[in-house]
Amino acid sequence: MAWDVSRRTVMSGGAVGAAVAGLGIGRSALAKRPLKIIVIEEAEVPESRLFAETFVNSGRAAKVIRIDRTLNGLLHELAIGEGVLVGLTSDPAAMIAEQVLLADGARPLLKWAHHYRKMRWEHRTDGAPALLARASTGWPTVLANHMQDALGGSRQAPDLRCESGHCGLDGKSPGMLVSWAFEVGVQQS
């Protein structure tokens, strides 16, 4: 059955919506074709910049969209046509992106949480806990590499939680971040 995720799943379109709802979905399908990855960088958030930089340095980012502190870009710049949008952003920015992308028919691929409390980062992700725990303040780099693997299909155990060792928090960091990925505008068969 052919369907188009650039429009919202529709009545009588089968159980497509129910099958893809939730997190950690559809990765095997993603792995079968090259992905145009577009990274959303929240310019005011240091971890977001490091995450985007890692994607760029790996050669996997087709484009970086920088969002300033007004967050207005989340409303106007996410219409990319086709590909995968990824980001490590503040929680509000993730919420806005989710609202906008779901309304446009995007498909959620993953959503992980990163929370700084009691002098440590706590990560809730699919897989790679040891790497993230050891990474301390460099964790956005590890995360970006791990997300590339996850989007590429090398998925590990789901729903893991880990804590870093003691580390500081950058003065510009919100301290509660969300990493996320959405697939948009892709014809599947």
Binding site: R7, R8, T9, V10, M11, S12, G13, A15, V16, G17, A18, V20, A21, R69, T70, L71, N72, L74, L75, H76, S90, D91, P92, A93, M95, I96, E98, Q99, L102, A103, G105, R107, P108, A113, H115, Y116, R117, K118, L169, G171, P174, G175, M176
Partner: protein, 519 residues
Amino acid sequence: MSTRMPHGVDAATFRKALDELAAIVGKEWVFVDELPLSAYRDAYSPLADGEMLPSAAVAPANMEQIQQALKVFNAYKLPIWTFGNGRNFAYGGPAPRQSGYVMFDLKRMNRILEVNEKYGYALVEPGVSYFQLYRHLRQIGSKLWIDPAAPGWGGVMGNALEHGAGYTPYGDHFVMQCGMEVVLADGQVVRTGQGAIEGSQHWQSTKHAAGPHFDGMFTQSNFGVVTKMGIWLMPEPPGYKPFMITYEREEDLAAIFDAVKPLKVNQVIPNAAVAVDLLWEVSAKTTRRHYFDGKGPVPDSIRKKIASDHGLGMWNFYAALYGPPPIIENNWKLVEEAMMSIPGAKLHLNRENDPAWDYRVRLMRGEPNMTEFSIMNWIGGGGHINFSPISAPDGKEALSQYNLIKQRCHDFGFDYIGEFLVGWRDMHHILMIMYDRADEAMRKSAYDLFGKLVDEAADAGFGEYRTHLAFMDQIAKTYKHNDGALWDLHHRLKDVLDPNGILSPGKQGIWPQAMRSQA
């Protein structure tokens, strides 16, 4: 397909109704699967997950489709939840009042039907957002401003219908509304005011007409589906002078409002002036965890450090003057004399690299933005509900409300994060109760705190002007003069205008007869 159903409707009947609706709006505009329906949840709900979720959604493209769809809803007695943009997340977003309702999503109806430069108004459909109208005006070279709600993705019509406020001189959005087109539950189309005159050119120019004003009846209500609305737009002024004054002490709030009241009532300060508390103001720049990682409210000693670090007061007053420069200059003398007479007041006419200043300056000149959401970083985790009592702009009243509400916040372990906004002659107090959605105990405490505040505010003689879905019934019951006569009137109107009770049952605590006993 979602397993949720409208109450009392079996799956086969529901499917049949949806088929009929699909024939009206197009199959691609009827949504039944979980993924598209997830766009209609309240991302910041104070309720546990899994509540207030729809059974399906239907998105009509025009008034004729609305009329036809209403016939189907009536025939099958399907409860619908009507909305335009659904972005009012402190109050429930697009979510329905109860699980199982069918979303009547009007976002496709997003045409700006007219911009009248000469008389300063726009006529819009329900799906038009502030950003959309703002961009349209810039594209056509208009010299008209909009007055956006704080997050600019909200709907022009929806915000006015919900009695929302902005920060320019046109900040009372329902006051600035002029003329509506409404489809009643039986499909009849009504135009209010001068719109009822065939060929009228003045529908958006004056609210006045022969007979009663009905526009207000279609706000915060479930008596009809508003399909067009006029909104007055402010001509770009020749001068604009934003300012901020910081005040050192919490108790300065009384003096601030006693000073500002005559300036507001006499329109010396023409815009919605606002006194923002320290933590609301600073949350656009830093987070709580940078200063205090413990439980309970931020201690006073740390509040003082925050104020010192960021050059802020316990209250931070924003307003602006507009008009020809000589008038601004004269009015400024009055403002300065009154507002700077409070000991410790510090005036700011510019603040470099201050996102909170930048955000307020944009709002007061009608530039939509999304900066308000960065405030949610204070706690993280996104949960927030707004408790919004309304009263006269009186210093003693403001301080009394502040002390009561702050104490209750502290009793429940929350920071007081709030602002007082003075329109022309009234005062909106907005308390933002922030919590981490992932922390179940914190979410439950926020819910309990809100409920207690509603009752205590009512006992003290003031009510809320707007509220989250989860508290609509409780707040409706606080309007109990003469044994609840006002809501009795709402219910009598509801029963006449919508006898099948299909339109947004429970909106603002107004229920159709068949569902009233459960409320």
